[in-house]
Symmetry: C2
Subunit: 317 residues, 2 copies
């Protein structure tokens, strides 16, 4: 299992390697919600997303032998880039299995860091099955995007940093895909801000954790259609879900059109580029699903990797 | 006249009022130029640009009587918004004379802060003449966008903050319109980083300060055609030019297509929205006009107020 002491170990390893990303505030946002919002900008993290934290920490925990043989992962993009970058820093060969419809920018960036990319068809193949096969053939260690204790511990450093900087929170809004960031955040929040309610947010089409949260067992989504490409994961894992069940206050889901509105708000008013998945946390507030009036609210922006042409299309629609 | 002690006074007044904007770094940019770049992000300043600093400080220096009567200014946009916001904070009525082709976002934001906006035709009227007439009629104090000692002192706090944060610099790249930011920056650099070469950058079509710098006397541009709308000023003022002549190392000019490339770079790689005028400082490096290899370089990003539709057009072109 994984607990806050693992997050603390991860924070030590990441010190001086990962960016301590800025926390932005916005008078406009505060007035809109009648609350004090603190935006933790992981879009400014190395490789453009929080994923670098977990990826680097996971690689740091491998044996010399494992590092020499290499590492394999499957990812819709940000974990792939992050692991590719971490691999470059450690001198470890990384093999990435990516869906053939992953954003061009993410595929190019992953290759740019020196990783080998193997594309697969989302509708025909299970990435886990393909990953097991290739890793067995080549003797690679698999570091999946979220179903891994070191990944969860690494991602937990985001919330830890945010709360240590701005003080205890009433709410912490977290983007949820496979639940790595969400589970890690909830471990940190419980420890450094015990009264903070952690809220996970998914896209409506990919609301598997929302449904799992209600039913108490792991539910799945098959290839959800959403612009939040980082949250098109079929389900959480037993690991992340067990932490979420225990520490998360509620799960909410939002529409794609709200995500588009949030990309606009971030660009126009806060002058930052946020990818659709990174807008999930704000989107739940945007849809007035939560009364945060008078509260102190952390909003984790998970990443900023989005093709500008895609953004331009959103803004013209 | 104005000197660094005025910048220090401005910094005290602005403490706790203006944002101490973040300084970002980019591994990609450092590798591209073989240098260490420090981006001072005034696009995150209140009202979206450095202009708030000068505007607020200038208002703070008025007498009670002047504040009661109100203030007038003329501006292509960012100074107008900044003064309107500062006016709101001080409870001072602001009248703004704006060109009729100013970006819609800037006009709306200025009105949103409670200012009265009077539009004029750039091709038919001199804003200074119109400004004098209206201010005389209504007893308003004129606070122009750059030809004012308190404005220069306020803008000088940007470079002061940057250098105090990252240490002495070899070069400081500064966007130049009327020369308020540039002259203020040069005063600060001279004091807190005496060996730093300050470089002013203008759009090619509006290269009046470049030409003035070579000829030694104030040259003008009539309504230059450039997407850098904040640098469409006809000329520097005697005040700003005299400071620039004495303290600035060189003046460079760049093309609009380079400014577009820089808006893309900032969005894609650094995840920030920068308006075309705010890209001037980086654009001179982008055009390889300066050998900064191995050097420590400050890059002031002046602002981020740009219509998203305009950006989307740039990115599709």
């Amino acid at each position: 299992m994984v607990d806050f002491s693992d997050v603390q170990r991860a924070a030590s390893v990441l010190d001086g390697v990962a960016h301590k990303t800025p926390v932005l505030t916005s008078k406009t946002a505060n007035e809109k919600f009648g609350a004090q919002l603190y935006f933790k900008c992981e879009n400014f993290q190395r490789a453009g997303a929080f994923k670098f934290r977990g990826a680097y920490f996971a690689l740091s925990q491998l044996s010399e032998d494992q590092r020499t043989r290499g590492v394999l992962t499957y990812s819709s993009g940000n974990h792939a880039q992050a692991l590719a970058l971490a691999g470059k820093l450690f001198g470890v060969q990384i093999v990435v299995i990516m869906p053939s419809d992953a954003p061009a920018l993410k595929v190019a960036a992953t290759k740019g860091y020196g990783a080998e990319v193997i594309l697969y068809d989302r509708d025909e193949t299970s990435r886990e099955a393909l990953g097991s096969q290739i890793s067995a053939e080549r003797g690679l260690t698999v570091i999946p995007p979220y179903d891994h204790v070191d990944i969860v511990a690494g991602q937990g450093t985001v919330a830890k940093e945010l709360i240590e900087k701005v003080g205890e929170l009433d709410y912490l809004m977290v983007c949820a895909g496979g639940g790595g960031l969400l589970s890690g955040s909830s471990l940190s929040a419980k420890k450094v801000s015990p009264n903070c309610k952690v809220i996970g947010v998914e896209p409506e089409a990919g609301d598997d954790i929302c449904r799992s949260f209600r039913s108490g067992q792991l539910e799945t989504c098959h290839n959800p259609e959403t612009i939040a490409d980082g949250a098109r994961t079929p389900s959480a894992s037993e690991l992340t879900f067990s932490i979420i069940k225990q520490n998360v206050f509620d799960m909410l889901s939002v529409t794609d059109s709200t995500l588009i509105a949030c990309t606009k708000f971030y660009a126009e008013r806060m002058k930052i580029i946020v990818e659709p998945t990174g807008c999930l946390s704000l989107a739940a507030l945007w849809e007035n699903q939560l009364d945060v009036a008078g509260k102190k609210v952390g909003v984790i922006i998970s990443g900023g990797n989005v093709d500008l042409a895609t953004l331009a299309e959103f803004w013209n629609s």
